[in-house]
Symmetry: C2
Subunit: 720 residues, 2 copies
């Protein structure tokens, strides 16, 4: 490669960039083209910005809701301002700086004329967009582009843009909307980042202080308090993985700005480095790159998003953790910043290490005592079985009523599923791209999840204020050896009801592990208990007789999500035949149950009472029992066999489990799986989590004893 | 790479391989490791055969149906015999020859003791398998493995295997089952290939003659007659693309054996080279590598199958067409034969050319006059829009009652769909892996396809004998320029009913083309006409009001597939609002109609009356009209917009078509699409296909005239 002389950059004193800087700033121009990932990003952004420049300046008067024309144009514009600024720094081409200047001058004309957005729907109206959240995002991007070109401007232009765009926008976001700004919520983080970064760029320390400590600068709210309150000590974000992705960007981008301007704050070491922990936690909470879709979440969301390109680059800049490079490799992109340059340079130098996907517990709550997500992985690969158990707190307005819910992935696919959110992001015909009515009536309801429902009523009666006050208790977690286990308990989701669930991932030789589900309910009065299992795949067969609704399909219930379930069939299985087998991709899955006495099984599908075709249609199996109060559900999920449509071969299409037994002792539950060939696996789970307590039981006439919450006993059979 | 001395191969005179030979036979050993694709195949087969050798000889007494243990074991065994034979030739390692010998000696013990298979269900019972077809497949593979090692055997072993396995199997397949052997059908082709190849290996020319000309050696049936009867002059196979794939293997494998042993027959030049044409046609009848699922077909079937690895390698050996190399590259595999070596060698030498995927007509019938499949492609790429129109004859027992059916792919996905077959291949719990009852009651029925249904009755009243006697007439096909068109007509599918359909692929600038569907019915009495459109995707919205079955879902009809359709909603749209929009992947699709006067639109889903959960649940839109006899349906399928879940951007989610108009003149139909901005595209389709006939019409008050069947007129609008 031939090195060419580059034009000198303009260097007016005192107005140089403050959000990016250091040696990397010049290196983007001199070295960038050498590193494939940076060169690709340069080409991508250049293509995008060149196209925007060719299309001409278009700064429309705001009118449309999400997905509409003016909404999308203002989004394109902030990407263009950001892109043009970075391109100017990465290439030295003044045309980019000039384009950003002209765009911003248009905004300086438009913005002072604007009232609240005409499509606004709530008390957080924006001006450029229907909600002020999007206005804050606009600032976070645009201020970075502006910072990159600000030293190229005449004093007059600089003042026009400072005073016509960013200063009034910061005022609108902070001072005019304290109900949005001064709260502990991800929307407020975008707002704080917007205002704080604007403060650095406009050299306005009061603005920075408001961002860090709230409009009254007391520190009771603001960015630092958000870091304290919204992340757990393990870096888990209160709203769940999908919003963790979204929330991360303003956290790390603003933190990066703080680090550039006030390194003495040691922001990346704040709370034991929780921000970079949070980036790693976001990656851990994925399968094959897709986020676990707990709470309001779109299932199609992966690590390939702008938020994560930024987060990974900034976290790499802060930590130089080489496993982040392998995430950047998977993403296939980085940022047009000095951090992105470093990612690309180190990838080109072969410094990457595999990301250490692991079985681990992510505690929830600022102090880590508000439950947890338990992740159990059969291995670190994209195809390895993963179980995730959601024992977290509610997580505010985007939370679902799904305490002690679980999901399972295997062979690269979701197998036991969570619906995620009912929303078509940015698709105007679907209610402007906002959360749909069915998000409330179906997706958030308990029956839409794989957890207990009492008397066809959602947890906390579907009231978020109550739900926010109570969290599950993570009683035990162990990821050692060939058996991983999570035990958690939830009290108060319904009056008088406590339920406890152990989910155990059990390796039994070759192939993906079995998963045991032991759910025990204690109620103070008789009740109907439902335990749904939402699954993905095509039903192969059921082990028990079915009464079917073949030619007219009724709905299961009236409310709390039940109105959205069609009933395909019902049955009354016993311990010998209670199983359902389905196929997904090239593997079979069998769900085997020990139904409580008198239990009924319902096979259904989502999609009833859905006049606008807003719901996906997905199958569910529900165990239903009228209980005197206390009931135990036992189930085992077994992946098995192989179906190869190319070679036309099929192996192991029937379950390897011959039977399933459950015994209750004085202080423990003991479950025995009898595998084909007579081999047995016995799992003993004590009520107590006390590590030194000893327990004993009798299994098949033989005594067993163990110490602590959990033990596994393998019995030999005829051999496998 | 270091060249090493290889052990000399055993060379007893007179018993050397006859199915593979020439310079390539030795070159497999000396050069094979140099070419990645051949080395990979060597490693793959070695791993498979080594595992089989380690597992030991297992030749069970036949007992189970498709998918069952003995079925799968006998399949594994023929792969092992074939693989071991090829490995012996590719490596010189006698252990492989010895393993094949020991396996075959076990068969020599077992086979003479066998009667018909206990799980046999029809008059084509096998002995090793439930149907004799599988026995023939067993021979086609095993005889190749045997041929490869036959010169290593003692005279005694050779005689034991000749007389204990292959001679009696050939007798069983040919002489004992003339009802299977002496017919024109793909099962018979496997039978002929099995017997003919056995004839060459056992040096039994009478056996070869029977294979080529039928058991009476008259030539009225047998392999040559099958080539004459089962392929059209364009290489289209009568049963459709899925069975073309399957049928190809015995055709090309046996042809290869004929070429080796009787080159004077010039078998690859027979009928103007129809066999290699057929290999290329099979590839043309795919999208993104997956076969168009017309007739009985599994949608998951791609070019990555053993049949096509063999076919591509043999066709390459016969033609050296470099575009076949790019197919082998896509497949990622070749065969462990001298032809496979050549594929791997020429790929390594960079000789591949892109496969010329094209818009073309594949005529059906031995003389090419039994209708056709019309394929229209927007481009040669995997993501380019493809329309395939099925105007072929019935195609025998695996044929569907779907004359003038069409499907559409775009952006790598099926958009307008064909259900294919109701079958779970090799999955024992699904009726032994055979075709399911629902294949007859749903998948074959007309309403399961995108074509006309009269009085809720399938074409030919669902009677295959009648259906086999009548074929559509392909009236016109043109793939020139920016507009591609197929017009075909079907008479006699119902008494007194003739219908004609033009499907037109229309390029209108950037983005995938629009597709016009013009379907005209002439009936001699009043009738109800249904026109289904089966589509894949999630409904975004309908342009017209719907009456919905929200809380109880009825079934559409009683028979002919209608019993399997749930009714979600009905509506009565008019020309101004008759559209449905859905999303699939990252693109939107709108189906816009000009419903006949009084028409109703039904939105439904497959899956009713399905007690064993055998059906996939897929959406359908049906236009329904009570007609006095003559009715015209006009529809336009429009791909539009882009949804990017990563970048959270959406463009063009609403249709670009403002209106749709249809005018009938004295001798033509004229359809005008008015696009956004006022631009118009007018398509004029004359009744006559006469190239020199002139036609005229008046559109929007202006006269137009054209010559021949079809013309397009573009009107300018305000610009696009």
């Amino acid at each position: 490669m031939v090195s060419v002389a580059l034009p000198a950059m303009a260097q007016p004193s005192g107005q140089q960039p403050v959000l990016i800087g250091g040696a990397g700033l010049a290196a983007m121009r001199t070295e960038g083209a050498r590193y494939p990932m940076f060169a690709d990003e340069l080409a991508r952004v250049r293509k995008e910005v060149d196209a925007a420049m060719k299309a001409g300046i278009d700064v429309p008067v705001p009118k449309d809701p999400g997905g509409g024309r003016t909404h999308e144009q203002h989004k394109r514009n902030y990407m263009a301002i950001y892109g043009a600024g970075m391109l100017y720094r990465a290439t030295g081409d003044k045309a980019y700086a000039d384009y950003a200047r002209r765009l911003l001058l248009e905004y300086a004309k438009l913005y002072p004329t604007l009232g609240l957005h005409p499509a606004a729907k709530n008390n957080s109206a924006g001006k450029l967009f229907w909600q002020s959240l999007n206005d804050a995002v606009w600032v976070v991007y645009s201020i970075q582009g502006y910072d990159a070109i600000r030293d190229t401007l005449s004093d007059a232009d600089r003042k026009t843009i400072d005073d016509g765009v960013f200063r009034p926008m910061a005022k609108f976001i902070a001072d005019d909307q304290p109900q949005v700004f001064d709260i502990i919520h991800n929307h407020a983080t975008w707002a704080c980042a917007a205002v704080g970064m604007t403060g650095y760029v406009l050299r306005d320390q009061v603005m920075v202080e408001k961002a860090l400590k709230g409009t009254d600068r007391s520190g009771k709210v603001g960015f630092l308090k958000q870091i304290d309150q919204l992340f757990s000590p393990d870096g888990y974000y209160a709203e769940g993985p999908y919003y963790q992705r979204y929330a991360l960007q303003p956290f790390v981008v603003f933190a990066h700005a703080i680090e550039q301007n006030e390194p003495q704050r040691k922001i990346f070491e704040y709370r034991d480095g929780v921000l970079t922990k949070a980036v790693r936690a976001a990656v851990q909470l994925t399968y094959d790159g897709y986020f676990f879709p707990f709470n309001d979440a779109l299932t199609e969301k992966s690590l390939k998003t702008d938020e994560l390109y930024q987060s990974v680059a900034i976290a790499y800049g802060a930590t130089h953790d080489p496993s982040l490079l392998s995430i950047a490799r998977w993403q296939g992109r980085t940022t047009l910043t000095p951090d992105g340059l470093e990612v690309a340079r180190d990838l080109a130098a072969g410094k990457e290490k595999p990301f250490p996907y692991a079985s681990m517990l992510f505690r929830d709550g600022p102090d880590g005592d508000q439950g947890a997500i338990a992740v159990m992985r059969a291995g670190p690969g994209d195809d390895d079985e993963v179980v995730a158990v959601k024992n977290t707190a509610q997580g505010m307005g985007h939370g679902h009523y799904d305490k002690l819910n679980w999901i399972l992935y295997d062979a690269g696919r979701p197998i036991v599923t969570d619906y995620g959110a009912a929303r078509f992001l940015n698709i105007e015909a679907k209610d402007g791209g906002r959360y749909l009515k069915e998000n409330e009536t179906w997706a958030k309801q308990t029956v839409a999840h794989n957890t207990l429902v009492v008397n066809e009523t959602s947890q906390f009666d579907g009231k978020v204020k109550v739900a926010n006050t109570l969290a599950p208790r993570q009683i035990f977690f162990s990821a050692e050896g060939d058996t991983r286990i999570s035990t958690a308990e939830m009290a108060g989701a319904w009056p008088g009801v406590t339920f406890r669930r152990s989910i155990v991932q059990i390796e039994v030789g070759k192939g993906p592990p079995l998963v045991l589900d032991l759910l025990k309910v204690h109620g103070d009065k008789p009740a109907q208990y439902d335990l749904p299992l939402h699954f993905a795949g095509h039903i192969i067969d059921a082990g028990f007789p079915l009464q079917q609704n073949l030619a007219e399909r009724p709905v299961l219930g009236k409310d709390d999500g039940y109105q959205h379930l069609w009933v395909d069939a019902t049955g009354a299985p016993d311990a010998s035949n209670a199983r359902l087998t389905w196929i997904n991709g090239e593997r079979f899955y069998t769900w085997r149950m020990l139904p409580p006495a008198g239990a009924q099984v319902i096979l259904g599908e989502s999609g009833a009472n859905d006049p606008k075709f807003n719901l996906r249609r997905e199958p569910v199996l529900i165990q239903r029992v009228k209980s005197p109060g206390d009931t135990t559900f036992v189930g085992v999920l077994e992946p098995h066999g192989a179906y190869d449509p190319s070679a036309e071969t099929t192996e192991g299409s029937t379950s390897r489990i011959e039977s399933l037994r459950h015994v209750r002792t004085a202080d423990a539950d003991v479950v025995t799986l009898v595998l084909a060939g007579g081999r047995t696996v016995t799992l003993a789970i004590a009520d107590s989590a006390e590590a030194r307590a000893t327990h004993k039981a009798t299994v098949d006439g033989k005594p067993i004893s163990w110490k602590g919450h959990f033990a596994r006993f393998d019995g030999k059979g005829a051999g496998q």
